[in-house]
Structure formats: C-alpha cells, structure tokens
C-alpha cells in the first residue's frame, strides 16, 4: 500500500501541516495590500500582528518547505486524478450532496464555503488539522493529536449522519 511509503518518508523528514499554509497565504495577500504588516526587523521578518508574527518568515519568503510541500501535494493529487480519468470529480455537485440537498450548485458552493471557514478557524484554534494533529500527531503518540481526533470525530460523525441520510 502506498500509504506506507508516504508515512515512512514523512517521518524521516518533517511532520506535515496543511492548515498553517492558509495563514501564510493570508499573510502574503495581506502584506500585498498593506506592506506594513510584515516588515524586516533586526532578527528577520516580523509582524505587528501577534499571530502572523509566528509565520512572518514564511510570509516574507514563501518558497519554503511548507509551501513547496503543499504545492507538490496539489500537483500529485491533480496528476493522479487526471491519470485515472477523474479530473473534475464527475460534476460540480458531489453525488452524496446532490442526493440530500439537490443539484443546486449555488447551494453546494455555499456549503463548501461555510464549511471551509469553520474548518480553518477550528484548525487554527486547534493548532493543526487532520494532517498535522491526526496523522502526524497520532503517529508519534502525541497526546494533543488524540485530543484533536476525539473532538473532530465526536462532532463529525453525528453531523454526517444527520446531514447525509440519503444514499448518493
């Protein structure tokens, strides 16, 4: 199974994290609009925003390990999907969603947008997401990884059971 190769490699280098890069990307955009938000300090880039300060170095120089990793992940998924002839996912509205909420693309887009907002807010509050906390964290027996997974599945499973009663 391919998962084995991946995890072996991952742990030899550096645990992965996806949600941090959303913050980095936000910071890059914010810095474009307001160049004062990340400035060159005596010890490298710093930010006047307390949270952004933690990733100020990545914002100032985005071509680093984390960003390249995320871009490579997207490339890998895109190529893999194209190779098996599934690019585009077979329609704008996923089948399970359509079976429960209808074929309206606008409704699905709204659900995806709202979901994305909540997912990333939650991930930043938790300090990591499925990849960082659950996969990397749990595979190091990290206590925070197990706390995160407990919280996530405790809500995700009943939510999915209620939302998706119809088979897609």
């Amino acid at each position: 199974m391919l998962g084995l190769v991946f995890f072996a490699a991952m742990l030899l280098v550096k645990p992965i994290g996806m949600s941090t890069e959303f913050v980095v990307f936000d910071g890059v955009i914010w810095d474009m609009i307001n160049p004062d938000i990340v400035v060159e300090g005596p010890d490298g880039p710093t930010s006047s925003n307390a949270y952004l300060n933690g990733v100020a170095k990545s914002v100032a120089n985005p071509l680093n390990y984390g960003v390249v990793f995320v871009l490579a992940t997207m490339l890998g998924a895109g190529v893999s999907a194209a190779l098996r002839g599934a690019y585009g996912g077979g329609g704008v509205v996923p089948s399970l969603w359509a079976a429960n909420f209808g074929a309206s693309a606008a409704k699905r887009f709204a659900g995806a947008f709202l979901g994305g907002f909540i997912v990333l807010y939650g991930a930043r509050l938790a300090g990591g997401c499925t990849s960082g906390h659950m996969m990397s964290g749990m595979s190091q027996t990290s206590v925070s990884g197990f706390i995160f997974a407990a919280g996530a599945f405790l809500v995700a499973i009943p939510t999915a059971m209620i939302l998706f009663k119809q088979e897609g």
Partner: protein
C-alpha cells in the same frame, strides 16, 4: 535538498489522497456517516504503520528521535477539533484534501479554499481575544506523548510507561482495527476507487 524532498513526498502524499478517495466529499461523507469505512480503514492502517515504523525505527536507531515534533495540548485543541469536525462533515473537505480537490478540478473546492482563507484570517484577527480566554494554556503537561519516549525532548503523560513500546503496541492495535473494521454494507460503495 529539503525542498526536493518536500516536492517528492508532497506529490506522493497528494497522489495517495486522491487514490484512497480522501478528496471525494461523497466518499468522506459516507465514511463519517459510518456507511462505507474503506477510507477509514486506509487512514487507520496508515497511522498504525507509521507508528510501527517510527518507533521500531527509533529503537534500532534508523529514525532520529530528534525528528519528533509534538504539538502542545490545550483546551482549544479539543474545541478546534470539534469545529473542524463540523465543517469537515458539512463540506467533505479538510484543509489538505480541499486543496487537493481544487487541484483535481473540483469547483466546489474553490469555495472551500476561499472560505478557509477567510476562516484563517478571522482566526488571525481574533487571536488576541481567544488567547485572553485561557483556551490556549497548556494542559496535561503541554507537549507530551503518551509514554516517555527514550531520548526525546518530550515528556510522557504517563512517565512510567515506555513511550516507544506504547507506540509499537498502539501501532499494532491500529493495524488490527483497520483489518477488523467492516467495509460497510454491500451496495453502499457506489463510488469505487481504484485499488492501491
């Protein structure tokens, strides 16, 4: 060199996520509704194997204990996990799979990513307020593993337990669970994903 590794490992990770169906919201929704557990089995197996490799590797000296990077435990981890769980079930995406789905040409993922960027921005803005509530204060010792891992800079939640043995036992349990879990009811697997 590190960037090259990021490129190779990242591309492999993305391809695996695509192949196990993790980027497909329908597959994910069926998994979370506990109707088709194929993806769940794959994830649990992967974590189990990673546990086994990590700690067997550390015991034999092949894997550098210094590579471990344990995140702090605090109440916000649980609350954030719950929020993520809700959005995950609603959208069918988590941060990584949403980006991969976008790269795979799924148009709804574009809205997920846009919402995500706004959500992350909202957190940046509310960080000081969140911090003042004390939700981010370390609990259970902060950066801890379950047992104490020999040679690591992290302490164990249960210092008496040998962390490497815990890791291996847990890895075996995860692998066993992955094999014991049923795929789901027959006929529920409408979307087939190519075998790995």
């Amino acid at each position: 060199m590190q960037l090259f590794i990021a490129l190779v490992v990242g591309a492999a990770f993305g391809a695996v996520l695509d192949r196990i169906g993790a980027t497909n919201p329908s597959v994910l929704g069926r998994m979370l509704a506990l109707r088709a557990l194929g993806l769940m089995k794959a994830i649990i197996l992967a974590i189990g194997v990673a546990l086994l490799l990590t700690f067997a590797g550390q015991m034999t000296g092949i894997v550098d204990v210094g590579h471990m990077s344990v995140k702090t435990a605090y109440v916000g981890v649980f609350l954030g996990g719950m929020l993520l769980g809700f959005g995950w079930a609603l959208s069918g995406y988590c941060p990584g799979t949403g980006l991969c789905a976008l790269a795979s040409g799924r148009r709804d993922a574009l809205f997920f990513v846009a919402g995500g960027l706004l959500g992350a921005f909202a957190y940046i803005q509310s960080y000081d307020a969140v911090k003042s509530t004390g939700l981010l204060e370390p609990i259970l010792g902060g950066k801890v593993t379950i047992g104490a891992v020999p040679g690591s800079k992290f302490e164990g939640l249960f210092p008496g337990l040998p962390g490497d043995i815990v890791g291996i036992v847990l890895g075996l349990v995860f692998i066993a669970v992955a094999f014991v879990l049923p795929e789901g009811r027959a006929g529920d697997r409408a979307v087939t994903v190519p075998a790995e």
